[in-house]
Symmetry: C2
Subunit: 213 residues, 2 copies
DNA sequence: TTAAAAATACTCCCTACGGAGTATTGTAAT
DNA sequence: ATTACAATACTCCGTAGGGAGTATTTTTAA
């Protein structure tokens, strides 16, 4: 099975101990892989990476103190040869896309089973971009790796978006930010325009999809 | 540690194989527990339960073909002595409450670590209602076990709620359901009333919180 | 320091939404 | 058969939302 004498050094970054345990269980009987680190926080992981050499990183998207997408980019910039596989419960297109655009070698859902995981690891080593089955279905023949246009928002816009997502009316927002309701209206209009929709609900849905909320 | 000769029979119901692996890893070295079943689908679990006897059920809330809350109620109605612990990523109050109201002996977040899990299992066996740390923080001194009034919706209302959550306007909904926009308006008004709010966004937020979407 | 971007605030206009109430028809369960 | 609820559809009214455009001040970056 292995064409290498050395084991691949694997680190797991996930804030769910159960998931870490799960990966350990899946990998522990396989001679090709050796888990050399497990981290629940981005910071711990980054400290580790400052001094250690690894081959494969299993990286959760949602971490208590950071964002898997950014971490992925940093790792890949410093060490493009390291294989980074995103792992997450989230099967949203934009997130998967962002991971891949930031250099990830693949993306696994936590619903993947042992075989799936081992297959994806091997395929990633072989240079493929691996997506677990469900993710692949999400995309059909969609233009992967072409950036989804996530609108850039100003500080104020993000603030107002947040309040809108809480169900606040323009007047309430105006009061809590000490500005004119008409200004709120302007910001809201800009948000709708940037998200290319005429519906508050769609605006908020998209914002959530893009990880802005 | 154990005051029993027989091992407690544990089953795990979770659609994430990694989580199952994690629990197996946590429990496998403990003489008190024995995993006698693991299921990714509610149906498989229910077939198993029809013929087997178990002591403890670790039950995910979100399953591909069912709802942990309902399953919990069924199990507890048939066998009140079985210990049911909810496990989930979701730390929303209403969901935890619903589990407990339906007889669950506790609720663990998947972020719980091995010690946390073992402690909670033991405490549940000792007759306590166990909540993992983060969940307990959510509640403070809140009136647990008093039902949160989750509105009962009719078929049509659920249908329209769904479309509203997708950002559809009343007119679009009317067209796709072949009814008058005024009827849609009536249903929307009923929804807002049942959720006790005047904001579509809040309506949708609550619906999501209650697991209706 | 000067140009660009952000935040502020307004106009006008029209439509969609939200509150309150009434009414008819259909469809369950008792 | 009859009571209850669901689903349908309407009226009237007022406000909030949304489209399009203009304009001033403040902040930030080149």
């Amino acid at each position: 099975m292995s064409d290498n004498i050395k084991k691949r050094k694997v680190v797991i970054v996930d804030d769910h101990p159960l998931v870490i345990e799960g990966f350990k269980n899946v990998l522990k009987d396989h001679l090709d892989f050796q888990i050399v680190g497990q981290f629940r926080k981005a910071e711990d992981f980054q400290n580790f990476m400052a001094t250690e050499v690894v081959d494969i990183i299993l990286l959760d998207i949602t971490l208590p103190d950071g964002n898997g997408i950014h971490i992925c980019r940093e790792v890949k910039q410093a060490n493009p040869e390291i294989i980074v596989l995103g792992i997450s419960n989230l099967s949203e297109r934009s997130i998967v896309k962002q991971m891949l655009q930031n250099g990830a070698n693949g993306y696994l859902l936590k619903t993947a089973d042992s075989n799936d995981i081992l297959y994806c690891l091997q395929a990633a080593i072989d240079g493929e971009i691996v997506l677990s089955q469900e993710i692949r279905e999400l995309f059909d023949m969609a233009d992967l790796r072409k950036p989804e246009d996530i609108p850039e928002l100003t500080k104020r816009e993000k603030q107002i978006l947040q309040l809108l997502a809480e169900g606040k009316k323009s007047l309430e927002i105006a009061e809590s930010l000490f500005i004119s309701p008409l200004t709120v209206k302007t910001h809201r209009a800009t948000l709708l325009q940037k998200f290319q929709t005429g519906s508050l609900v769609i605006l908020i849905n998209k914002a959530k999809e893009y990880g802005l909320l």
